[in-house]
Amino acid sequence: MDRALIDSLSSTFDALRVEVPREDRLTVQAPRDAVMSVLSFLKGRGYDHLHMVSCVDWMEEGQFELVYVLSAYGTGQDSASNPGEEIILKTRIPRELPTVVSSISLFKNAEPYEREIHELFGVRFEGHPRLTPLFLERDYEIPPFRKDFDTRQYVEDFFGSIPPVGEEDQDV
Amino acid sequence: MTVELLLGVALGGALLTYVLGKISPGLRNAFALLNALALVVMISLLYGQSFERALPLGFLGLELSVRMNMLSWFFAVTILGIGLLSVIYSLVYMRNKERLDYYYATLLFINASMLGTVVAGDLLSFFVFWEMMSWSTYLLISLRGGSKAIFAGIKYIVMSLIGSLTMLVAIVSLYVSFDTLSITELAGHVQSTTMGQALFVLVLFSVTFVIINALWPFHTWLPDAHAEAVSPFSAILSAVLVRKGLYGLYLLMYAMLGFSMLGKLAWGALSYSNVLAWIGAITIVFAAFRALMQNDSKRILAWSTVGQGGYMVLGVSVATNLGMAGGTFHILNHCIYIALLFFVAGAIEYRTGGIRDLDSLGGLIKRMPVAFVGGLVGICGLIGVPLTNGFVSKWLIYKSLVLEGRPFLAFAAFLGTWGTILYGYKFIHNIFLGQLPDRFRDVKGIPFTMAVPIVILTVLIFLFGVLPGIPLSVVDQVGTYLGFESLNVSIWGIPSETGTLNVVNLLAALAVAGFIVWLVLRAIGRSVSVDQDDTYAAGAAIPSGKYHYTVGFYSPLYRIVGPYVRDFVDAFFLKIAGWTGSVCGVTRKIYTGFVGNYVMYIILFLAALIFVQIAWSPW
């Protein structure tokens, strides 16, 4: 990873922790409200491709961790030297009322990822045009992907509650 | 019951309608209806009579005359019949539009002048009524206002002016050499004309009749005029007014110049009827493919009028009694189903609030069944599906073409028919079938007075289709009047050794088979009726009223045919118009505005006069 990028990153933003776990990967830890500025900064430096947004449920610490994976297409003239590099931006948000500014203004393709996280984790993204249900048919009290969602319990009492049809003339 | 009375009632009626309109709209509507009805009754009383009578007042030393014979009677019936139906139709259709006195008066005036052209005994009164017909049509085409209607009006009047000027020159040249204009006398004199003059007259007359009949090179005015005119008037325009050109061709080819002269005028293959036939063939094919690509309901019908004109010309130019019968019968058929289709298109436009774009209509069969039946039967007649009148006349034309050894013309005609099937089905499918959009959920049916003409014409199509004997006997008399030996017509069709047409067997067979199949369907099959939204869409529930496939209905075919069927004739005419405009701009430059130049012009003129006289002394 070119040193220049790391130096400029740590110089422009103060509360950042930057590590280089692998030769072509850079992880950046940023506070919640600095995420958008870091993202736009990196996009300016040529990392214009958002691979995905995912969410990790640290239940014990009562926090969600949002992970943005960026890379450079390497086509633009001002892009980073090596197209294969990736930057992983992590941020922590509280578990109770998880709200984050939607990154859709910078990356159009973030829309489905954020919808999925909203549906399955319950994280609210302000500024997102369509936070409507994506995969699930029903609404759940506890979003299913949270660790405290007990699937077996849910299956047992929800699907258990569906009565079989036509019991009396069922000749087994 | 004389023809003068007929003309008087027609012309008087038109003017009186305007006056009555000032008094009260109801009175005017009633009078217009009464007038049209009276005319139809009077013309039916004139059936079979044939006479010629001079009118009392002369014109510049020429005596005018009127005549009635089978040919005029045939055309007069179509004019007055369609005129009556369109007056009935426009009682409700035009109710909430403005300038209705003007509309009714001009409509009746146009009918009267068309009647005049048909019963005129001499060429001068023929020309006078022809001119009155063209400028009154001009006044009615752009009635709806809007830039497109105005452009259509100007285009029409310029082309019809060209037509009437050429006709004037031709008529006067005949008058100069024979100093009589009565058609019967001219027919006698024609044998003694010089070849040059006969050709001169022939070319000028055919230019006029090709323009008004909208054949291929001069068809460009028709699509705009018909699409922009008001529906009842565009029904008249395409059903009858355009066929005056054909009446003119009949006069030219059979009454005046006569067929022997036309034979003499031919250089080998390039005989007049051959050229005319090829123009007709090109018109059919070109118009069929052009109509395919329109998505405005009235424009499709306008282009189909252009196309069908080609069939009539084909029939006429074959000049055997079969071809002639086919061509003449096709005039009657075409005027029935094209008027029906324009009435249906007008009804759709009336009910859906002025929407003519085929891409945004759909599913109207559920709300307007009568319009659907009318439209379907009209399209079947247009295509020539058996048991409709179009089939019989097309069969006659094809048979005469094939037996006369003109396969390529027959090929063009057949191809035109298949083009008709495509755009005919597009007309029916995009308007009536498919999903009914939500905004048309509460569209009401057709009002009664608009339904009457539609029902009458539908019944006529089937009546003439199943019993072709009735109209064919009239057509046969027209043929004999024009000098062809009559073909033996039975009530069911044309029994002849080279392949007969017997419609009764068709009808009986189809009825029996249809009944049996219907029985099978009803008795054995049990069916439950399903709503329009319950259709298969790979398990998804489709949003109601949004799934009707209309946009780009024949786009693959259009991609293949498109580049070859651009209307370069239209572009050429527009280029000429632009060119004249620029020439005018240039010539205006002569008047520079400085007095010095003007005085210099005078002195130069004088000097030139004197110089020329001294140098060459020509004077």
């Binding site: - | 379907l376 090929f411 069709g493 068709l506 369907l521 099959g525 049990r526 799934y547």
Partner: protein, 296 residues
């Protein structure tokens, strides 16, 4: 005798058509190197379909399919079947050409009424394919008509008996070749089966046909196959003196068609039209010119 044939002939045509269908499915299966259904499978299908409760989309939906099947039944009466030609006296080749229009028109109307976009796409393809193969077909028919100088098909068959099969006689062999090139399109078999393509537009116009409607549609399809083949036999291969020989000739042509059907993938509508308007039309035109020039 004549009247008996008037009612017997359509039934025979139906039976033969359905048998052809079964035969073709069996032969196709054999070509795919599998056993394939029993010959009478179409009959079983039809019986099963008739016993199902189908969904109807309105009166035009029923009338359209009735018109189409009735139309196809009528055309059969006009076509000579060996020496049997019940109605061919009252309308020649022109009437047949026009009557062949009733079948597709009926299906088009009822499928249009079924308010399914797949059906509309299917119909527009059918009509485009129709004008596609109609152009060369017209050239061929006109060549025949002007060569034999008649528009009655019985006359054509009678003349062929005198001068031998028209596929063999010189000017018409060219038109015959053109006709054979477009035969798959007329019969709507594989290379031109794009009207009822199950994969692309879920069997086109047939998408909303269930139960008895589908049965009637299948019968109509079988009949139109019968008509297409019998027309080609009458025109090209000189008809036959006896119905059985006629059936034999039809079988030969059916086999020819099936080989083509099994071998070719389905064309796109544009490719189909471009093909139809290129080679077959050219050959047809040459055939017509020859027929006119030599026919004189």
């Amino acid at each position: 005798m004549h009247v008996v044939w008037l009612f017997l002939y359509p039934i025979v045509a139906l039976v033969v058509g359905v048998l052809f269908l079964g035969l073709s499915r069996k032969v196709m299966a054999r070509m795919h190197w599998r056993y394939g259904p029993p010959i009478l499978q179409p009959v079983i299908d039809i019986i099963r379909l008739f016993s199902q409760r189908s969904a109807s989309h309105g009166r035009l939906f029923d009338l359209g399919i009735v018109l189409s099947l009735a139309g196809s039944l009528i055309i059969v009466l006009f076509l000579p079947f060996g020496d049997v030609a019940p109605l061919s006296g009252s309308g020649g080749l022109l009437v047949i050409l026009y009557m062949m229009l009733l079948g597709p028109l009926g299906i088009a109307l009822s499928a249009g009424e079924s308010a399914n976009p797949n059906a509309s796409i299917g119909i527009s393809r059918k009509l485009m394919l129709a004008i596609g193969y109609e152009l060369p077909l017209l050239l061929v028919l006109l060549a025949f008509m002007s060569r034999y100088n008649t528009i009655s098909i019985v006359e054509v068959v009678r003349l062929q008996r005198a001068t031998g099969w028209s596929i063999a006689s010189f000017p018409l062999v060219v038109s015959g070749v053109a006709y054979l090139l477009i035969l798959p399109a007329i019969l709507a078999i594989r290379p031109f089966e794009l009207v009822q393509a199950p994969q692309e537009i879920s069997s086109g116009p047939m998408v909303e046909y269930g139960g008895s409607y589908l049965a009637l549609a299948k019968v109509q399809h079988a009949l139109s196959m019968f008509i297409g083949i019998s027309l080609s036999v009458n025109l090209l291969f000189g008809g036959a003196s006896h119905p059985l020989i006629f059936l034999l000739k039809m079988l030969v042509i059916l086999m020819l068609g099936l080989f083509v059907n099994a071998a070719f993938p389905r064309l796109r509508i544009e490719q189909a039209i471009r093909y139809l308007w290129r080679w077959p039309s050219l050959i047809g035109l040459v055939g017509l010119v020859l027929a006119v020039v030599i026919g004189r």
